[in-house]
Symmetry: C2
Subunit: 210 residues, 2 copies
């Protein structure tokens, strides 16, 4: 059985928990508090030198990090990943877009403004950059969604899971989605997929202690 | 035949040109000058709303962006991508790591300090962040390479191509690799792979005008 090292309020971790729920896969859940430094301990860094969650123990002693890679690993061969090579490439394109052009801005805003709630290390130029680049990514998504119901293959895939995680909480950290009707309609479509769970949901019965 | 929209001096574009060369795939090459704004024209944005190169026309009218997705698309089913599901997940992990934790810092430093050579928009806090986070990524790579010859599957894969592009020019933008002997030895191994081409190399006979 998989073991997932995850922080409940992390958007990157939510992606993996959502996919696991929709794929009806059982797993052990180890809650890791980034804010308390639990990704910086020698024990955790031995599992993932990058010091990030989510982290999946995919096989005994084999740890997989990076939410996009974990999604791809878990969902391969399921309806959440298209079979067609080019459609799969397009799906990965949006997953790389998410990690490169959206998560660093919406994710940082969510971490600092919602989870940490400010802090002395937070600088105004950083917030301005998150806003400018975050809106730029949202405009690219809006343009695509004006003509497509989902991001790849004409159906719900792990690209939608990846992009949903931070976009659905963007309003909590100051992003105004009023001017993004196609994004808002897509958020609703994603939330209505079979087996959808919210960011707050946790598989309590499966939880184990670190 | 594929058409690749690429800028010769871009590290992200070099990844794709290197893979195409090693896979001995023929393609049309369209040179795009980011600095002259050629990724911001209506014609280019119609092909890729993100406004980035590399961009691959994979089939007539079907455009694939994001270097990692293009690499995956081109190299699927070849020796540059492992067959084993978990090894493939580990390869993708390093490709997401590259786009999230290395390219935004080494890539930005390369763009601003080597290609643009400064400019009035360049701010000191940005350079400090590139250095701090770039060295952090290099330390994670060093730690992995102390025990592995390549990033995934025990052999040369597209994860190595992805990580090589900006790492092999890091010295040009102020990164000192003296303290990273495992990274330096890996750079040499990558440069010695069959069919390796340098960043300057171009398939002149295939070039077409935009």
């Amino acid at each position: 059985m998989f073991t997932l090292y995850s922080m409940q309020r992390s958007g990157n971790c939510y992606k993996v928990r959502l996919a696991l729920a929709q794929l009806a896969l059982e797993y052990n859940l180890v809650e890791i508090d980034i804010i308390k430094g639990e990704t910086r301990t020698p024990e955790f860094l031995a599992k993932n030198p990058s010091g990030h969650v989510p982290l999946l123990e995919a096989a005994p002693g084999r740890y997989l990090s990076e939410s996009g890679a974990i999604l791809w690993y878990l969902a391969g061969g399921t309806p959440l990943v298209p079979d067609d090579r080019l459609e799969r490439g397009e799906m990965l394109q949006w997953m790389f877009f998410e990690q490169h052009s959206l998560e660093p801005y919406l994710g940082a805003a969510h971490f600092w403004l919602v989870l940490i709630k400010g802090g002395r290390d937070l600088q105004m130029h950083a917030i301005e950059e998150w806003m400018e680049r975050g809106y730029k990514a949202l405009r690219v998504m809006e343009q695509h969604l004006e003509h497509h119901r989902f991001f790849a293959a004409g159906r719900y895939t792990i690209a939608d899971i990846a992009l949903y995680a931070f976009t659905h909480v963007a309003n909590e950290c100051g992003f105004d989605l009023t001017g993004f009707p196609a994004v808002r309609a897509w958020l609703k479509r994603v939330s209505e997929q079979p087996g959808h769970v919210s960011m707050d949901w946790r598989p309590a019965a499966l939880e184990i202690a670190e």
